[in-house]
Symmetry: D2
Subunit: 306 residues, 4 copies
Amino acid sequence: MQREQIREIHQEGAYHFTMGPYHEPVARVESGETVAIYTEDAFGGSITSEEDRPSEALGPYLNPQTGPIYVEGAEPGDTLAVRIEDVEFTRDWAVSCLVPYFGGLTSTPLTTTLHDPLPDRVWKYRIEGDVARRGDWEIPVRPFVGTIGTSPAIEAISALSPGDHGGNMDVPDTCVGNTVYLPVRVEGGLFFTGDCHVAQGQGELCGVALEVSARVTVTFELVKNREIAWPRIESEEHIMTVGSARPMEDAARIAYSELVKWLSADYGFELFDAYQFLTQVGELYVGNMVDTTYSLVARCQKRYLA
Amino acid sequence: MQREQIREIHQEGAYHFTMGPYHEPVARVESGETVAIYTEDAFGGSITSEEDRPSEALGPYLNPQTGPIYVEGAEPGDTLAVRIEDVEFTRDWAVSCLVPYFGGLTSTPLTTTLHDPLPDRVWKYRIEGDVARRGDWEIPVRPFVGTIGTSPAIEAISALSPGDHGGNMDVPDTCVGNTVYLPVRVEGGLFFTGDCHVAQGQGELCGVALEVSARVTVTFELVKNREIAWPRIESEEHIMTVGSARPMEDAARIAYSELVKWLSADYGFELFDAYQFLTQVGELYVGNMVDTTYSLVARCQKRYLA
Amino acid sequence: MQREQIREIHQEGAYHFTMGPYHEPVARVESGETVAIYTEDAFGGSITSEEDRPSEALGPYLNPQTGPIYVEGAEPGDTLAVRIEDVEFTRDWAVSCLVPYFGGLTSTPLTTTLHDPLPDRVWKYRIEGDVARRGDWEIPVRPFVGTIGTSPAIEAISALSPGDHGGNMDVPDTCVGNTVYLPVRVEGGLFFTGDCHVAQGQGELCGVALEVSARVTVTFELVKNREIAWPRIESEEHIMTVGSARPMEDAARIAYSELVKWLSADYGFELFDAYQFLTQVGELYVGNMVDTTYSLVARCQKRYLA
Amino acid sequence: MQREQIREIHQEGAYHFTMGPYHEPVARVESGETVAIYTEDAFGGSITSEEDRPSEALGPYLNPQTGPIYVEGAEPGDTLAVRIEDVEFTRDWAVSCLVPYFGGLTSTPLTTTLHDPLPDRVWKYRIEGDVARRGDWEIPVRPFVGTIGTSPAIEAISALSPGDHGGNMDVPDTCVGNTVYLPVRVEGGLFFTGDCHVAQGQGELCGVALEVSARVTVTFELVKNREIAWPRIESEEHIMTVGSARPMEDAARIAYSELVKWLSADYGFELFDAYQFLTQVGELYVGNMVDTTYSLVARCQKRYLA
């Protein structure tokens, strides 16, 4: 399909800061349809310069989401497959920063201490082709959507939270070329996305990747009568499961037990054989160690599953 | 006030399974008003016999809440003080049970393993005066509300979850005679309660206390322009703070850091003196070790604070 | 027995900073014998004034232990019952302090961050009868031994660490009048103790109780062919189990599962009945939230176990 | 150097099941020396067939270590660099198995529940060139040493435990071609190793990799007056730090904060710039999620550090 033929979805009205069944759909799509979704950056564009102070610049809510997008025919018990076709930045710069009491190596509102906050600080990068540049730093561009999910059945979950609905997982494998599988828990699925990243390391250490606004092209496919408990991802080389929980070992347990069950259900492995096999060939990395729950990704190379 | 003069609040329409700003108020009250709120048990009354199998009897949602109750004049930044005047059981029996993959000494959906579930089992107790009796077991009646909270600003949080809004804390100190302080984060505060317990040990070990339906009498007092980050409780003898988080040490950190700040803000302690003083006289018990987050209660005896 | 008739045990040679099988016994005792053990404070007496700076005053090792004491006839598979008859302070003052990067509301070497340390600070108290006094603070004297344990089978564990051998549990129930049950894992059991506290709140919030040197009188009883996995405590009113682990929920799980098994093995409860019963009447408090592992105490009142 | 010229070190006397300062050195080496160390598998060779039952076959202690090896001139405050030159299997088969209450998706003695254990089971693999084969499974051979460490200052730590001394880290990057940096905390450093793996996935999911006996060739280099707090690893492409702790987020915090400090100390990054830079390019994977503490590896590609 030509780029110009793709339907574009802009947020009508205010961006949303929760994923839930209480918002009116911003668009309706068919299974099989490809659309281009415009997303704001995680700060709603409020940080633009290294002179900004995040403690002052940020509003009460973070991580604005575009959505919900209603998928025709989606019903609880289905799975929504979302292939990420493209992530195109809509500006030529990205920002990261230290937000007080947010990040991987700081006290936070959950891991509370009596320490003063780390300093406010902003880093701004120019995006030049396939690198993001700041001074002599050159960071390879590897675009992905930090936040992607569907509506929970009855809860409205903060856009800052990852969970079994997807959400703010911040795992670099929700990237161009990969397919994200999300549970459908309400009529229409109610898809949300936002929070695009020019690049991000594993763990998203300081809490803030290279944040950018973007045009995200995705293709929706509805998989009827197929229920998944947690998000899954498929790339050319891997099948993957994402677990989001605290403490971090619970996220690891979820990710790997979902992968054990996947091998057992779809790839002919007896349950404990799957457990054994993944012991020897599985991969397990930290997507984020900074959000309200931590997201870990368990992976198995497809070449083992022929 | 005479019992018969107290306004009674029954849930109009369906009970709610989330606490959030998306439900219509079931009643409106004034600051200073005393009302009697009728609550269902945590299972919506679906378990009535030791022959019931929780895995079959339970519906998709648990812990039905009465509310929201709109408090006139309440605005974000205020605190809602809720004095629990009475908890009267509306039946003469209580149940506890093992729910598959729920509890303190079992695998759960968050602490996932490959084990088969523990057995389904129900224990039913007769309430006779000040004891709950089953065979030769006699458990002292100590009624409290397991779930009590206000609406988050934008989220709708499962009634099974404790958090900084209160919710399903399952701490035995939200009992008759004590005052619970809850944050006001939306207009009207939007108060919910339910999940009354005839008795419960610290930790709520198997996940299910002595569950009962009840008539809960409370008096609301609005404290204007007083912001609290987490719920607080006051009894005749103690001031208390409740932290709810995972891992459990994060709940402990929250509870005690809120208590340190309370002593520092209101009782004349320099910050590190409060830290020191609570080291020597503070109390810290586990309310629940079974819910989506764990709730711990830090306490300081008032006699130290004269 | 008259106080003067009790055999006194002083550390011969250097105090030990590990509990393990690699040290020569400082004394040998018979089952049934009562002895008085002299212990240093947790800082080896190096902090004596509010002008001291812990970051400078403290040596490389903390928490000196008296021991090991060899119990005649003790063999792996036995249990050593240690009744704490008395804890007499050998000086009239106690100290607490902030040690950099140690405590419950600070970054630590395990919960690492980029924050600067909290300030160095010392609080010194006079012990006057049944209170410890500093300015207008009056803290009730409730003496207990912070550290008490036996040798692991082959490990030498830091005296700062609690574990299944006991060790630095810092739980206020290892106090006068109570009996501590410890596993015997090597010939002679090899008992160590130290780290007496004039008082301490639950959690030992800043990491340092009211530290004091003391004369600890204990009676040893050997329980042959009785194996325990984790320490237990018995008071006039309670039976108790101690679990020490991270994250804190693991310590809670250990403490309560040991108590479930104890009720099941010795008090006639079917396993899941014990789980149920403790759900309604059990108690669970935090002993320490500051050491290398956290120690939680699960308790059941004896009146339920007649 | 010719293979036949390399000095070989066999364990004299019994293998050790702790790392500590209490064992006599089995050999003494010079800085710069290359030696070949013979190691047993983690089960001491007690499991040889798929008919074996681990619950019966295993002895009281697991993970036998060869050592300690005394490095001439090593003193506290130095670092020992150990280049892993080769890991040659001394048999043509490997085993993995399920050990009751041990592994990533089971209850364990620390994460205690009331579940029955998972089944006893053994998987045996033939090693054929660069694959380990069992039925139609073909697992690429990627040999590494599961356990490698130096003596703590005064503790004797179980060979099953990872820690800041190294130990049973089970991270696949302690492999052929890489250099492991270990702290020297006692005279001679006292190096131990064992527990070779034919292959292992990230996380070591069921707790047992492809276990094998081996001849491990290493070159020791002493780095004088260079103190490290936690183990580090260097490959051709990466610098890496290993953190071992519970809960898992503490291991993540340690690994990344050590890497932040390393970039700051040796590569010209201001502290918060290092924090920022690793946010965008850092890698973080789980080595083991099964041992007494979890080991995570943080990595930075060297090409960023020119």
